[in-house]
C-alpha cells in the first residue's frame, strides 16, 4: 500500500511532467552513438541539481530506463556496432533493418522492453522490501562478504582481460582513498593540498572517464564522412505482423526471467543477460526461424531487449536494499542519490519509505512513457542519429565541462576532469575497462569502513570474517558464481566466434 502512496506522488501532474522530461532526455541522449547508460546518467546529472529530491529521483528513473532503451535504437538503425549491452540487439536488429523490417525490430524492442520492464518492476516491488528486511540484520562481517563478491565480479568479469580489469579496479580504490579517512579522520594521500582533503569527486571521475575519455578516444580515430542510418520503412507491412507477435511474446517473457535474476546478483549486469537470452533464443528456435538467426530473426531482438531492461530493474534490488552498486550505471545512480542525502541501504525503506516508493512508482510510469514516446518519435531519433559527428563530440565536451564545473563551481574541477579524461583515453586505447574503476571508487570506502569495523569488533582476528553463517554462504556462492561465469564466458566467446564466422560467410 506504500506503493499506492508512491503512485499518488508520482502521478501528480508536475511529477508526470518530470518523468516525461526524464524519459525523453534519457532516450535522446541514450540514442546518441557512443553514449551508454552510465554516461547518460553521468552527463545528465546537472539537470537535477536544482530539483527537490522526489522530482530528482523521478527524473533519474526516467533517464535510467530511457538511457537503457536508447542504445537499442542506435544499434538497430546505425550501420556500425554499438555499446556492449545492446550489441546483441545489433546482431539481428541491424539485419532486420537492412531487410526493410526496421520498424518491426524497433517495435519488438520497445514492446519487449516495456513488458520486461514492467514485470521486473513488479518483482522489484515485492522483492526489495523483503531483502531490505533481511538486510537490517546484517552486520559488518556480512557486508564485507557481499562487497568482496561485488569487487571480484565487477573487476574480474568485465572486459576481455582480467588483469586490466583488476588494474582499473585498483586505481579506483586508490582514488577512493584520497582524502580524509572515514574511521579516524586522518588525511591520506592529500600531500597537504587543500583541494584533495575532501577527496576527488565521483562526478568528476565518472564524467571524465565516460564522457571526456570517450570523446577524446573517438576524436583520435574519427570516421569521417556522412553518417549511414538505415531508413525506417513506413506502411502496413513494416509494423509487427501477427506472426511477429507470435514469435516475440515468448522471447519477451524468457528474456525477462533471464535478465531480472542476473541483474540482482553482481554478475556483469545487462551485458551478460543479453548474451544469455540471445543464446537461449537461438537454441530454442526451430526450423525456418532457426535458419533466420544471423540474418534478422525477430526472436534475437525481442529476447535480449527484454533481458536488458529486466536486468536494469534487477540491478536496483542490491542498490536500493544494500546500497551496493553492481554496475557502473548503478554507481552513477548511487552518486546521484547521495547528492540528495539519500543513503540507499536496508534503512532506506524505513527512514525514507515515501521517497523510495515514489521512485519505484515512477519506474512503472517511466516504463509506460517509454513505450508511448518511443515508437511515434522514431523519426526524431533518426534525426538525432544523423547529427554531424563534429557537433556531437563538441557538444559532449561542453556538457562534460558543464557537469564538472557545476559540482563546486570551480574551474579547477574542470582541470581534474581533463586529467581523468586523458586517463580514460589511454584506458580505452589499451583495453582497460573503465567501469570497474568507477564502481571501485564508490565501493572502496564503504568496504574499508565495514572491514575495519568487523576486525575491531573481533580484536583483529581475521577468522571473524567467516564467523557468520551468512558470510560463509556468500563466499561459497561466490565460488559457484566464478565457476558459472567461467562457463558463461566460454559460451559468450563461442557465440561470438559463431556470429563472426557467419558474418564472414554472408
Amino acid at each position: 500500500m506504500l506503493l499506492l502512496e508512491g503512485f499518488s506522488t508520482a502521478l501528480q501532474p508536475v511529477y508526470l511532467l518530470y518523468a516525461l522530461g526524464g524519459v525523453f532526455v534519457g532516450t535522446a541522449v541514450g540514442v546518441l552513438p557512443g553514449i551508454g547508460p552510465a554516461m547518460t546518467v553521468a552527463l545528465l546529472m546537472p539537470i537535477t541539481y536544482a530539483l527537490d529530491p522526489a522530482a530528482a529521483l523521478i527524473v533519474f528513473a526516467g533517464i535510467y530506463y530511457g538511457g537503457m532503451y536508447g542504445g537499442s535504437t542506435t544499434s538497430i538503425l546505425l550501420n556500425t556496432p554499438g555499446e556492449s549491452s545492446s550489441i546483441v540487439t545489433a546482431l539481428e536488429g541491424n539485419k532486420m533493418a537492412k531487410a526493410g523490417r526496421g520498424a518491426a525490430a524497433l517495435a519488438t524492442a520497445a514492446i519487449g522492453s516495456f513488458i520486461a520492464g514492467t514485470i521486473a518492476t513488479v518483482l522489484l516491488s515485492f522483492l526489495a522490501p523483503v531483502v531490505a528486511d533481511l538486510a537490517v540484520g546484517l552486520g559488518p562481517v556480512d557486508y564485507v562478504a557481499l562487497m568482496v563478491v561485488a569487487f571480484l565480479t565487477v573487476g574480474a568479469l568485465l572486459g576481455a582481460s582480467v588483469l586490466r580489469g583488476l588494474a582499473s579496479l585498483a586505481l579506483g580504490l586508490f582514488i577512493g582513498l584520497i582524502g580524509i579517512d572515514d574511521s579516524t579522520a586522518q588525511q591520506r594521500f592529500t600531500f597537504d593540498n587543500p583541494n584533495l582533503v575532501d577527496g576527488i569527486d565521483m562526478v568528476l571521475v565518472a564524467v571524465g572517464l565516460f564522457a571526456l575519455g570517450e570523446a577524446l578516444y573517438v576524436a583520435s580515430k574519427l570516421r569521417h564522412g556522412p553518417v549511414e542510418v538505415i531508413p525506417v520503412s513506413k506502411g502496413k507491412n513494416a509494423w509487427l505482423s501477427k506472426e511477429d507477435w507470435k514469435r516475440s511474446w515468448k522471447p519477451w517473457l524468457r528474456g525477462t526471467f533471464i535478465g531480472f535474476p542476473i541483474g540482482t546478483v553482481p554478475a556483469g549486469g545487462a551485458d551478460v543477460s543479453t548474451f544469455l537470452s540471445y543464446a537461449a533464443e537461438r537454441k530454442l528456435a526451430k526450423g525456418a526461424h532457426k535458419a533466420q538467426f544471423g540474418k534478422g530473426a525477430i526472436e534475437g531482438v525481442a529476447g535480449p531487449e527484454a533481458a536488458n531492461n529486466a536486468a536494469a530493474a534487477g540491478v536496483l534490488v542490491p542498490l536500493l536494499t544494500l546500497g551496493i552498486p553492481t554496475t557502473a550505471t548503478a554507481a552513477m545512480m548511487l552518486t546521484a542519490f547521495q547528492r540528495y542525502q539519500i543513503q540507499p541501504g536496508p534503512l532506506l525503506f524505513e527512514n525514507q519509505s515515501a521517497l523510495v516508493w515514489t521512485l519505484i512508482a515512477s519506474l512503472y510510469v517511466g516504463n509506460l512513457m517509454l513505450l508511448v514516446l518511443n515508437l511515434p518519435l522514431v523519426g526524431l531519433w533518426v534525426k538525432i542519429l544523423q547529427i554531424p559527428r563534429p557537433y556531437l563530440y563538441a557538444g559532449i565536451l561542453v556538457f562534460a565541462a558543464l557537469g564538472a564545473f557545476s559540482v563546486n563551481f570551480s574551474p579547477s574541477d574542470v582541470g581534474v576532469l581533463l586529467v581523468v579524461g586523458i586517463l580514460g583515453y589511454f584506458m580505452r586505447r589499451y583495453g582497460y575497462p573503465v567501469a570497474p574503476m568507477v564502481v571501485a571508487m564508490i565501493l572502496g570506502p564503504m568496504f574499508e569502513v565495514q572491514l575495519r569495523r568487523s576486525l575491531q569488533l573481533s580484536q583483529n582476528d581475521p577468522a571473524a570474517l567467516i564467523s557468520t553463517p551468512f558470510a560463509v554462504v556468500v563466499y561459497a556462492t561466490m565460488g559457484l558464481i566464478f565457476l558459472g561465469s567461467w562457463w558463461l564466458r566460454r559460451r559468450q566467446a563461442a557465440l561470438e566466434a559463431v556470429t563472426e564466422k557467419e558474418e564472414v560467410s554472408v
Binding site: P33, G34, P46, I47, A50, T74, L78, T80, P81, G82, A160, S161, L163, R164, A167, A170, L171, L173, F174, L177, S183, T184, Q186, Q187, R188, F189, Y217, A219, S220, K221, L222, R223, P388, R389, P390, Y391, Y393, A394, L397, V398, A401, L402, F405, S406, F409, P411, V414, G421, Y425, F426, R428, R429, Y430, G431, Y432, G444, R452, Q456, E496, E500
Partner: protein
C-alpha cells in the same frame, strides 16, 4: 570483435609505459603510506592497512600487465560506432582538443561561462573538421546562450554569465 587483436603490428611501448604508470602510482603510494598518522586510540588495523593493500595490488597487477605485453599479449582497443578502427591515431586532433579544454578552464571566470563554452564547442568542432566553420561557430554561440539560459536562468545552476551578459537578468537564477 576479437579479430583486430591478432594484428601485433603496433609497437607496445606506449602500452608498457601506461602499465608502468599503475606500478609507479602503487610504488609512490607504498612509500608515502607509512607517513599516514595513526591516532593513539586506534585498536583495529588502522588507516594504513588499506592503502598498503591497494598500492601493493597496483604494483602487482601493473607488473603483471607489463609481463603480459612483453610476452605479446597486447590489450584490445575499445570499439565504437563512430570509430574508424583502421585509422592512425590523430595526435594533433587530441592535442588541439586538450588545448581547447584548457582554454575553456581559463576563460570561465574572466570571460563568463557562455563565452568559454562557445570557444570550447567551436574549437572542438573545428578540430573535428566541421564544415562550414561559420555554421559551427553560430551553433556554438546559440548553444552556449541556450545552456546558460536553461541552467543559469531556469534551473538555478549558478554559471557565471561573464562581463558581456552581466546585465541580462534571465541569464542568472
Amino acid at each position: 570483435m576479437s579479430s583486430h587483436a591478432l594484428t601485433p603490428t603496433r609497437r607496445p611501448t606506449g602500452e608498457i609505459l601506461f602499465a608502468l604508470l599503475f606500478v609507479s602510482v602503487g610504488a609512490a603510494g607504498l612509500l608515502t603510506a607509512g607517513s599516514i598518522p595513526i591516532p593513539p586510540s586506534e585498536t583495529g588495523i588502522g588507516p594504513r592497512a588499506f592503502p598498503y593493500i591497494v598500492c601493493g595490488m597496483l604494483v602487482l597487477v601493473g607488473t603483471g600487465i607489463v609481463v603480459q605485453v612483453l610476452r605479446g599479449k597486447v590489450g584490445q582497443a575499445e570499439e565504437g560506432e563512430d570509430l574508424d578502427v583502421d585509422a592512425k591515431t590523430d595526435w594533433i586532433a587530441l592535442a588541439k582538443l586538450v588545448g581547447f579544454v584548457i582554454l575553456h578552464i581559463f576563460l570561465i571566470e574572466p570571460a563568463g561561462w557562455p563565452v568559454a563554452a562557445a570557444v570550447l564547442f567551436s574549437g572542438a568542432a573545428w578540430t573535428l573538421e566541421a564544415k562550414p566553420l561559420g555554421k559551427a561557430i553560430l551553433v556554438s554561440v546559440a548553444m552556449a546562450l541556450v545552456l546558460q539560459y536553461v541552467f543559469g536562468g531556469l534551473l538555478g545552476v549558478s554559471l557565471p554569465p561573464g562581463p558581456l551578459l552581466e546585465g541580462v537578468p534571465f541569464f542568472h537564477g
